[in-house]
């Protein structure tokens, strides 16, 4: 797979205008992605970025893409967030004959040129395996979901965890009935409810780090930080720090917006340069534990 090296454009004078269509910027991961794309463009030089935000409205995303096309951008990068698909946007890009690179979110339907993102189910499995190792005596593991399966990213992560832990002797899974809404405050309240019904939890997995951070507080407030370990996904700065500090936050799977964003821009430029590129690129998501956390903690990172 292509790396995030400084290969530069291989065709023309290498100056392009690239439109970025964000579904939402209302989350650190997504705004981090947007910034990473812009930063990489700046690094490359000669690349102009036009960034738009649909504020969580799928119709607006379509309008924004049409808008970008009317400004005659050379390529479009879509950061689809929780969006499952955007046929109208993809169709418009296709009929304009422009390439489109998807970052993070791979749409279920529609034609795109290239996708760069994580394998969420793999991250889940990775977490599951780590937890299985730690819970040699078995125990109850709680799962906190961010939102409905209308966002299949979370679903994939949970499925990954489940696929490993289900059937492991002595391990039972408890799924919180309520969603944590991808935020720390949601993670906190959901965890509190879980603790009321399941005082014997041994571990908790959240579909992202933000919810884990909230859950960690709830566990600390309940005085159970010696009893319950925490596993998350994303590699949010605060999570990395908690892992590095040797708290009960023991593992996360890196889903680095910086890396994906930069690779996404590179990929768009490569395509514009006429290079043959891989259609789908899975960005490896290393498992981060106390042992390697220091290496990923990036004080300047956007996320």
């Amino acid at each position: 797979s292509s790396g995030s090296g400084d290969t530069g454009a291989s065709g023309g004078d290498g100056s392009y205008t690239i439109g970025v269509a964000n579904f939402t910027l209302g989350g650190p991961y997504f705004s981090g992605m947007d910034k990473a794309i812009a930063a990489q463009a700046k690094k490359k030089g000669k690349i102009e970025i036009i960034s738009t935000d649909a504020n969580g409205d799928a119709a607006k995303l379509a309008s924004n893409v049409e808008d970008l096309l009317s400004k005659n951008v050379d390529a479009v990068i879509i950061s689809g967030g929780p969006l499952e698909s955007a046929p109208a946007a993809l169709n418009a890009i296709k009929s304009a004959g422009k390439p489109v690179v998807l970052v993070d979110r791979k749409f279920q339907t529609g034609e795109y040129t290239s996708w760069i993102g994580p394998d969420n189910e793999a991250i889940g499995r990775q977490n599951g395996e780590f937890l299985a190792q730690r819970l040699t005596d078995g125990g109850k593991v709680a799962i906190i979901k961010g939102g409905p399966a209308d966002n299949s990213i979370g679903l994939a992560r949970t499925n990954g965890v489940k696929s490993v832990l289900q059937g492991k002797p002595g391990i039972t899974l408890v799924e919180a009935p309520d969603f944590g809404n991808w935020g720390s405050d949601g993670g906190l309240t959901v965890m509190e409810s879980l603790l009321a019904t399941n005082s014997d939890l041994k571990a908790v997995f959240c579909e992202n780090d933000a919810m884990c951070l909230g859950a960690q507080r709830a566990i600390a407030d309940a005085g159970k930080d010696k009893q319950i370990i925490i596993a998350g996904v994303d590699g949010q700065a605060e999570a990395l720090k908690a892992i590095q500090d040797g708290t009960n936050y023991v593992v996360t799977g890196l889903n680095d917006a910086d890396v994906i964003g930069a690779m996404g821009l590179d990929r768009a430029v490569e395509i514009l340069g006429g290079a043959q590129v891989e259609k789908d690129t899975v960005v490896p998501s290393p498992m981060i534990t106390k042992d390697n956390a220091a290496q990923y903690a990036d004080p300047d990172g956007g996320f």
Partner: protein
């Protein structure tokens, strides 16, 4: 004659009421000011953002006003009765996902009709709870917002993207340069305008917002008209949901969060009173234009996303301030 007259009795023919026309003309003044405001926005936009007048952008504008427009008309009808409908965003999601879900089994027009009907059904329930059981509209529709959103997810937790390309037709067809969906919205405003000003039911709805008891005593079935108002709002929301799903090409149960806020804002920017009884279809359409123009302009200027939000709020305040000054000066 024992009374002592201090002044001779005057013939009561003093022509003192001539300038009444000015009073009667008050509405005209406000309307003019409002049109001027929108015109100003457009001119400023055209002069400062070079891409504003490009055909693509204008088409964009026309497309972008559809959802807010449809919801705003329904909202206006409800607001006129002195109520409010917070559930429209959830209805948009429900009707969209149901339509997309049915496309695989039913002919597309029928599936779409079912989507609109679902909106109508929710409207009838809202209206009945409000009119028959005399519950506060805000809470009833707030509860409906929650319940209907839940139902949309119960129907399908995952988004539905129909394969049949016919599903996209409604959302992408154009008549000349104008999107069909925009024409549908304009038709709703046109027919709606006639309904509110020229039919007994429409006038009754307006009057109910002014003084429901008087209307009841005039032999008009107040409850039925309130139910009608929420039904219209539900129908508009259902239609908006279908149109939106067709335009985006995929129906998501999570769509439409906070849509009600833009619809309400459009009505109020158009001078509607949330206490009921005051509001105009034309001015509401103006309100929709203002909102869409604001969004579009901020995008064209490349204002950064969060600053867009900051500015959007400030501009709304500025617009209603200007409006008010005009009304007071009259």
């Amino acid at each position: 004659m024992t009374g002592q007259l201090t002044e001779p009795a005057l013939t009561p023919t003093e022509p003192r009421r001539l300038p009444r026309l000015v009073l009667a003309g008050r509405d005209v003044t406000v309307a003019t000011a409002f049109v001027a405001l929108i015109a100003l926005l457009v001119v400023v936009a055209a002069l400062t953002a070079e891409t504003f007048l490009t055909p693509t952008n204008l088409t964009n504008l026309l497309k972008q006003m559809v959802t807010t427009g449809l919801l705003s008309f329904g909202m206006l009808v409800v607001i006129l009765t002195g109520g409010i409908d917070l559930s429209v965003g959830s209805i948009v999601a429900f009707s969209g996902i149901v339509t997309a879900g049915l496309v695989s089994g039913l002919p597309i027009p029928l599936a779409m009709a079912v989507g609109v009907l679902s909106g109508i059904a929710f409207g009838v329930v809202n209206g009945t709870l409000i009119a028959r059981f005399e519950l506060a509209p805000f809470v009833v529709t707030l509860a409906a917002l929650t319940t209907i959103r839940g139902l949309a997810f119960v129907y399908s937790e995952v988004p539905i993207a129909p394969e049949d390309p016919g599903f996209f037709t409604l959302g992408s067809a154009t008549a000349g340069p104008i999107p069909v969906t925009t024409l549908i919205m304009l038709a709703v405003f046109l027919v709606g305008g006639i309904f509110l000003t020229r039919t007994p039911a429409g006038r009754s709805i307006v009057a109910i917002g002014g003084n429901a008891e008087t209307v009841r005593l005039a032999g008009i079935n107040v409850r039925r008209h309130i139910v009608l108002a929420y039904t219209i709002s539900g129908a508009c929301a259902g239609l908006a949901g279908v149109v939106l799903a067709s335009r985006v090409g995929i129906a998501q149960p999570s769509v439409g969060v906070a849509f009600e806020l833009d619809a309400i804002a459009a009505c109020v920017i158009g001078g509607a009173s949330l206490a009921g009884g005051r509001g105009s279809v034309r001015a509401t359409f103006g309100g929709v234009l203002v909102l869409v123009l604001i969004n579009n302009l901020l995008n064209l200027y490349g204002v950064q996303s969060f600053w867009q939000q900051v500015l959007k709020g400030l501009i709304i305040i500025a617009v209603i301030l200007v409006q008010r000054t005009n009304r007071v000066r009259s």
